[in-house]
Symmetry: C2
DNA sequence: CGACGTGTTGAAGGAGCTCAATCTAAGTGG
DNA sequence: CCACTTAGATTGAGCTCCTTCAACACGTCG
């Protein structure tokens, strides 16, 4: 836990400004939010279902995913998050976590106390509005995932997920949409697409055979983005991207 | 379109106070939100995917559901809403609707202009926070639906949906959890559970045969709530109910 | 009365699952 | 540096839950 208050929260500011233009005072208030930075190894829980997390986590580097389990032990993944994402605002503001958040690989995280977020929201309504809108985009993505696992076949589902990851990685400046490293194992991919790992594997190979992308280990290269987007029934509208992206 | 400003928005106030205790000024500001009341027949679109709705809809009576369609025309239902639900805050605050909202049966709706909501949020941060939390609960329900359609079998899925409807109907004072009228056709039930209407029909009959409930037309009676909740792998945690419910 | 929306039933087929084995790469300890 | 372990990826064979297609029943409402 290292304390420092320099420009660590900048990724949050730039993300949040997609929705609301903030004046200098508001920007300062956001950047000066008290926080501590922590580094986690792979597979660490940032929050566990049922807990009342005292703080929210802002991802500074690495990846994390939200998930919950059913009564018979099956896991369902709800979202994949990357640097710049406020991974746990939702659990934090609702007091008791209804799902878990777990790291993928090594991650750096800024921890912000619940009461500090509440104070910021009360003192700077525009900042609150911006954060609110950010959580609404998350909700829009959840809805798209319902649609994805509900009404698309395995190949389309997986292609859709790859498209979303690509676009968001690019948006966050992590990599390019047609050229990125998959942060998920095939088993995790399966839990994110409501399939089995075995079937994910077969479907990935089908898609690759169709020339939609090539893989080297987890590294994905997309030769024709448009074709992949079409195969994945993918339209960026639900991501509510800033301007033209 | 009838204009009146009396206690029409009371259901919103009582819902929102689940999350934040509001003082008199804040309560008044919420209740005095400018609005108009409209009545819609069954199957009317309150918002259509792609539109930029100028106002948000608060359901005063009746039911509505959120949905979107895939490229090949299949429909996916994301939520069912009832009196007291702010059905379209999400689309409204994000400018462009990423999904549609359609009525079920005859409904009464309060329409509130986008800029009036924004003004309220800026002038009364506590009210904004409360509304924000309300949308976070919606997001929690979306996550549960991802889990439901992803990792539960047909019977469990349907039982789960019935449980959720029952609890929420009771919470909203519409009916009792073990004794309510289903607002959905079997085809809509299918789109909400990622099944086909045919299979929903067979599964409903199986569940009924197992004594989990009885049906008369759309009227559902649950003899043993606990048993249904168990069959549906249902736990109210994700609904973030107020106190003990 | 006819038409339409909704619910119910039957039969056949398939997309994805299960179980189980094998392969590979990257540790890890001796 | 090698034997051993382990997580993840890949492959095969059989099976099942759910789908598809196609009737038919029932009630309501023009």
């Amino acid at each position: 836990m290292i304390r420092d208050n320099l420009p660590v929260l900048t990724p949050l500011l730039s993300k949040v400004q997609r929705w609301q233009r903030l004046d200098e005072k508001e920007q300062a208030a956001l950047l000066e939010l008290p926080h501590s930075v922590a580094v986690f190894g792979p597979g660490k829980y940032l929050v566990r279902e049922g807990e009342a997390p005292p703080h929210a986590s802002l991802l500074l580097s690495g990846f994390a995913f939200r998930h919950k389990s059913t009564g018979n032990g099956a896991r369902s993944i709800h979202a994949v998050h990357m640097a710049g994402d406020f991974v746990d605002l939702q659990n934090c503001l609702l007091t008791r976590a209804d799902h878990s958040v777990q790291t993928l690989g090594k991650t750096k995280v800024a921890l912000i106390q619940r009461q500090d977020i509440l104070r910021l929201a009360r003192e700077h309504p525009n900042v609150a509005l911006a954060l609110w809108q950010d959580t609404l985009v998350d909700a829009s993505i959840f809805r798209e995932w319902i649609t994805n696992v509900s009404r698309r076949d395995a190949a389309t589902r997986i292609a859709h997920l790859l498209c979303e990851l690509g676009v968001r990685l690019e948006l966050h400046g992590v990599s390019e949409r047609d050229n990125f490293e998959l942060p998920l194992t095939q088993e995790q991919l399966a839990d994110a697409t409501a399939l089995t790992a075995v079937h994910v594997n077969r479907t990935l190979m089908d898609l690759e055979r169709d020339g939609l992308f090539t893989r080297t280990a987890r590294f994905v290269v997309v030769p024709d983005w448009h074709r992949l987007a079409k195969a994945g029934d993918f339209d960026t509208a639900y991501l509510h991207l800033p301007v033209a992206a």
